[in-house]
Amino acid sequence: MISYSLADFKPIVPELVLLFFTFLILFVDFAIPKAKKKINGFIALIGVVITFVVVLSLYGSSWTGFNDMIVFDKASGFVNVVLLLTAFVAILMSLDFIKREEINFGEYYEILLFSLVAMQVFGSTYNLIVMFLAVETLSIAMYILTAIKRNGLRSTEAAMKYFILGSFASSFLILGIALIYGLFGTVDLLRTKELLTGADTLHTWIAIVSFVLILVGFGFKIAAFPFHAWTPDVYEGAITPISAFMSIAPKAASFMALMRLLVVGMFPIQVEWTKLLWVIAVFTMFFGNLVALWQKDLKRLLGYSSIAHAGYMLVGITAANSLGYGAVLFYLFGYIFMNLGAFSVAEYISKKDVEGCLIDDLRGMGYKYPLTGAAMLIFMFSLAGVPPTVGFVGKYYLFSAAVKSHLYWLAVLGVINSAISAYFYLNIIVTMYMKGGAKEEVVSFPSPYLRAAIAIGAVGTILFGVAPGSVLNAALSSIVF
């Protein structure tokens, strides 16, 4: 007989606090008139900050609840920090933006926080079914948020593509989980680990096949090569705060879950999945970088670059040593500042009701808005992996993990990719600073919160590039299960 006591709720305290604020927004939303919808945003902000404080205070302790379905350890603490930080910046970006785009109905923040809760759960569970449920809640919330701009042509197309491919991939996921259940009679990763070590060759091979099917689901979420096709269209279609949020939060949670699956669940067949991930990582990196060379639209370019960065993180995972996993987490942490910064600059120059923002709109921005120009310069160099930025430190550790496990060729290919990527990142700087004939008035979207978001991004990129010490140690020591 399974009995639940109060102790079981300890690991999900952060989720509960966030849920509380979600419902708070729900009720408050009825009370406020249409004009003052911004209050929801502020409540959401406060909620995220409080959860952040709660997570930080709980950091370091490790509990398990609901007989090992949910676990709160350093790793999930770190992922929570990443998720909350992303949400914080995303909300900052969207406070004034949704008012301008007339999407000012309260549910926007509420769905955002719901997806956040789902991601927190997704990142801190060993149970496959709970993972599946978390993925699905998360995805559904994302479909809605993508389609939030009702009359937008591109956002509808993006939502449609995201929905079809999302559910298509998740059906593979559930098929894989079912096979695993059939094989071992359990869906808990800790037990599958023991069962898999003793299994005979037939069981191992079927386990690998089922792992591949699960990988399709996860691969879709982190935009790995064969399953990446949705990313550019959805990032271009969705409204900028959402594509910013979507480029990091779900990816961070799915990377965390993938690591739990690989390190714990699939530990006995590590040799197999390292080879498989080796191939996928290389393809993802090359695809992301090569296609990005030709992009004209900034958000679409950032979509392809996020594919490439997923490839770099896969290199960290393929290295299959604690340094690699820690590096992936740190890279995700660093990726917040770089990517959100770049997206917020994209939002900064976006015009009302004009979908998609061309790189050419940036022309001459380096001189009209010197600070934003400088921030964009920092983001671009960080994404390209040029030192004193967090991008470089992150990439350094990913590739050094690969070198540590003697995957020299992987490191070399990864490093070549970052060289290729330098071209299109620098192309943006060229358009900003070096191309003459600035467009007429480079219109800018003067929202104080947006400028705060850009500032956070810039400061974070440089600060953690120059002094990554504490966060890096936290990341490196978190993957210990």
């Binding site: 699905e136 298509f168 059939g182 009679g185 869906v187």
Partner: protein, 100 residues
């Protein structure tokens, strides 16, 4: 453990039918239906394996799967409405502005 392979084959065939449905058909609603088939076939695998392994947890998991499938379809229909309002068509291939 009785011989459960033929049952699994049914489930996989069903899964394949659903997958091909998504790949080939152009109407959004047909795609929705084939997605539903795929997820249910995955659920079916759960039920088969739980029956043959004697435990009932598989069937409980199927309930979760079914619930999730339902909510997804709901959202899918909402997107269908949006598609119609924007493009007055539900043909999937119409929506291909964003490419390359």
């Amino acid at each position: 453990m009785q011989y459960y392979v033929p049952f699994l084959m049914v489930a996989f065939i069903l899964f394949a039918v659903g997958a091909i449905g998504v790949l080939v058909r152009r109407n959004f609603f047909v795609v929705l239906m084939s997605l539903e088939i795929m997820i249910n076939s995955a659920g079916l695998v759960f039920v088969i394996l739980s029956y043959f392994s004697g435990t009932i947890s598989g069937q409980v998991f199927f309930i979760f799967v079914a619930a999730v499938a339902a909510s997804e379809t709901a959202v899918g229909l909402a997107i269908a409405v949006l598609m119609y309002r924007v493009r007055h068509t539900v043909d999937v291939t119409e929506f291909s502005i964003m490419k390359r």
